[in-house]
């Protein structure tokens, strides 16, 4: 899924009602598709958003400037090309027959995944992985039905800290 058109924006915003709508609306206005968006409070009345968009570098550069202009947006960085730590949480339901269970569990643990719930052969499993490993994890699950799937979308952070945003 990842192509070189996909860019990752990391934002720090004021944790106010409506700020998500403002950010999403600004990106939508330029006709850019948001692939994933995660947001969570980071303390001090602020939230971090990680937005993955399907767009070229120049387009995203312009959108980032327009997003930065929003009053409640404190920082915007295009971190696509930076050394980053990026993780996505995947939660899935699979049906693993008794005889296949041992093999499945050992492969699951090789991904760092674990079983969080089990009922009548139906397992709910979770893994937190770098986005490029998520696809490999899903291909492990597919033979077992993969009857439900929930993905958080990536949350990301630059490995070294920024001084301040360009605003």
């Amino acid at each position: 899924m990842t192509s070189n058109r996909v860019r990752v924006l990391s934002l720090v915003v004021e944790d106010d009602p409506g700020v998500l709508e403002r950010v999403a609306s600004q990106i939508r206005r330029r006709g850019i598709n948001i692939q994933s968006l995660t947001v969570g409070p980071v303390g001090g009345g602020r939230s971090r958003m990680t937005v993955t968009v399907d767009a070229g570098h120049a387009e995203v550069d312009q959108v980032a400037k327009q997003v930065d202009k929003l009053i409640e947006v404190i920082e915007v960085h295009d971190i696509t090309d930076d050394p980053i730590v990026s993780r996505e949480l995947v939660v899935a339901r699979v049906d693993v027959p008794e005889h296949a269970r041992e093999t499945f569990l050992s492969r699951l643990s090789s991904f760092g995944g674990r079983v969080v719930d089990a009922l009548n052969g139906s397992l709910v499993v979770e893994v937190s992985a770098a986005p490029d490993q998520v696809e490999g994890f899903l291909s492990l699950l597919r033979p077992y039905g993969l009857s439900e799937l929930a993905r958080s979308g990536p949350v990301a952070m630059r490995k070294s800290a920024y001084g301040s945003s360009h605003k």
């Binding site: 004021e14 206005r29 550069d61 930065d68 009053i71 947006v73």
Partner: protein, 571 residues
């Protein structure tokens, strides 16, 4: 030692709103009462420092506040009620937003307990105005009221100005709170002063000094920052010619030898030739939008250096990627540039001579020989009477471009129009707002009959508020600009542009208590203007002009600026 605490000031939310406006130095509010802002209106008489102008439609309020702001440089203030009242503001907010006009709109909202439940006259005003305001606030707690209003004025008037809306729930207006108007603001994401970057100014001066065929283009930013004097000084010091955008008209005297007048797809031939042949373009306080560039790939093809000066960082490279960026208010940037500016190389003379030749080759001209009254004859006479002093407010369409092209001022002036949004019906209310703000100035309102009837109900406001505005109605019995586009670019199919069924404008004027005159022949123009100037109070002149008159020059849609077409000669 313990300092005595200032006496706490307990009052209702409505009084907090009004006291906040007093603290901001607001003198006038353009508004309309309704269910959800009645608590504010109940308290308004207790605040006699706040003059209230009752409009006849909320769109009129927004445009009046817009005209007031452009004419005074102070933020325009608007009141409206919830639901339809607030929604009627949307076009006016969008107009102000596109043209970076400072405005604060305070709207009533339904009670906090029923927000989001489709209460009577409820609409999601925050959602509806989000893309057409610089920012907006929904106030659901009385303690947030004063800080939000303070922030709204700060946002509206600093950085790149724009409209800000504060939506105040009715129960918040009725609740009691302590009025404590904050001095300090915490806005970690908004630091326009820190964004300014003048580091490239030295580089700009160097490039200007060595350019052989430079052109300066300026937009609304020069007027908004009051940089007209700096611009004139820079042009004269460097000998660089200056063109303006439609919104930049007034920033540079058109009677100046270095004036290229208006640029863009309906700009003057000599300006377009200069832009297309320039080796350096410095763009100041403008967005470089599609009306300025026409076909972007063919814009300024010989320019080796683009310099962009704008207060808004996000404008850099939005449409044209500059070689040098200066993110700053136009006045600050030009002030920094002036001490470094120097006359260019000797070859600059050849460039100016060339521009002179283009000016003679492509003058503004119009047909006079077909027996009809020509709009240019009307405007030339109006501008003669403006004496480079009056405020001119134009509507949208042919009337706007004619008024822009025939603008001829010896000094900077105010030409107010809806350049970005192109909002028909803007002119009359904006002219009334301008007159409220600048009663010392003559205000002329130029409009077509199509746009005029969109907001004509505001004529009552002129009577009620005793506003001496003169309307120059360029009545061509059609939607002229649309008709021209249909003729030239849409296969000549005249589809729904005929406006022969319209009110008798003299009777309309009379019904509203205005004086008026009608002119159908060139020889009667002077007498009508005499009557308008002699008669105190608002006056409308119905100029019945050539229904086939067109705007020239014009660049055919989709073409580059080189392809501009001129009025055919017939004299």
């Amino acid at each position: 030692m313990i300092e005595a605490k200032p006496q706490t000031n307990v009052m209702t939310g409505a009084d907090i709103v009004l006291s906040s406006l007093e603290r901001e130095g607001v003198e006038v509010i353009f508004g309309y009462p309704g269910g959800a802002n009645l608590p504010i209106y109940q308290r308004l008489p207790e605040h006699p420092a706040l003059r209230h102008v009752l409009v006849r439609h909320e769109q009129g309020a927004a445009h009046m506040a817009d005209g007031y702001a452009r004419a005074t440089g102070k933020p325009g203030v608007v009141f409206a009620t919830s639901g339809p009242g607030a929604l009627n503001l949307v076009t006016g907010l969008a107009t102000a937003f596109m043209d970076s006009v400072p405005m604060v709109a305070i709207t009533g909202q339904v009670n906090t307990s029923v927000v989001g439940r489709d209460a009577f006259q409820e609409s999601d005003v925050i959602g509806c105005t989000l893309p057409v305001t610089k920012h907006n606030y929904l106030v659901t707690r009385v303690e947030d009221l004063a800080p939000c209003i303070r922030k709204a004025f700060h946002l509206a008037t600093t950085g790149r100005p724009g409209p800000v809306l504060v939506d105040v729930c009715k129960d918040v207006q009725q609740a009691s709170g302590i009025f404590d108007y904050p001095d300090e603001l915490t806005m970690p994401g908004y630091r326009p002063a820190l964004e300014a970057d003048l580091s490239a100014i030295g580089l700009v001066a160097g490039k200007l000094a060595e350019a052989e065929r430079p052109v300066i283009l300026v937009g609304h930013g020069v007027l908004l920052s009051g940089a007209e004097a700096e611009l004139l000084e820079l042009a004269e010091k460097t000998g660089i010619p200056v063109g303006t955008t439609l919104l930049g008209i007034g920033a540079f005297p058109t009677e100046h030898p270095l004036s290229l007048h208006m640029t863009g797809f309906m700009g003057t031939g000599w300006c377009l030739r200069a832009v297309q042949n320039a080796d350096l373009l410095m763009m100041v306080g403008m967005r470089v939008d599609d009306r300025v560039t026409a076909k972007l790939d063919e814009w300024a093809p010989r320019a080796e250096t683009f310099i962009h000066v704008d207060i808004d960082h996000s404008e850099m490279g939005k449409n044209v990627r500059p070689h040098i960026e200066v993110v700053a208010d136009a006045k600050r940037a030009l002030q920094a540039l002036l001490p470094l500016a120097e006359p260019g190389p000797a070859s600059r003379r050849t460039w100016l001579t060339q521009i002179e030749a283009w000016r003679e080759e492509h003058p503004l001209r119009y047909r006079r020989s077909n027996g009809h009254l020509q709009p240019q004859d009307v405007l030339l006479e109006m501008y003669r009477r403006c004496r480079s002093e009056a405020i001119v407010v134009a509507d949208v369409g042919q009337n706007q471009i004619w008024a822009a092209l025939w603008w001829r001022y010896r000094r900077p002036g105010l030409f107010i129009n809806s350049g970005g949004a192109g909002t028909m019906g803007f002119a009359l209310p904006a002219a009334l707002g301008a007159k409220v703000g600048r009663p010392d100035k003559a205000v002329w309102c130029v409009a077509g009959e199509g746009g005029f009837v969109m907001t004509a109900q505001e004529m009552s406001v002129a009577i009620e508020q005793n506003l001496d505005v003169k309307v120059v109605l360029l009545n061509n019995f059609s939607l002229g600009m649309v008709r021209q586009f249909q003729d030239d670019f849409y296969g000549g199919v005249r589809s729904h542009v005929d406006l022969r069924v319209m009110p008798d404008f003299m009777k309309l004027a009379e019904a509203y208590g205005w004086h008026s005159a009608r002119v159908a022949r060139a020889e009667d123009i002077g007498a009508a203007f005499d009557a308008a100037e002699r008669t105190p109070g608002p006056f409308l002149i119905d100029f019945q002009i050539d229904p086939e008159a067109n705007v020239y020059p014009i660049v055919p849609l989709g073409k580059g600026l080189d392809h501009f077409q001129e009025e055919p000669y017939d004299i």
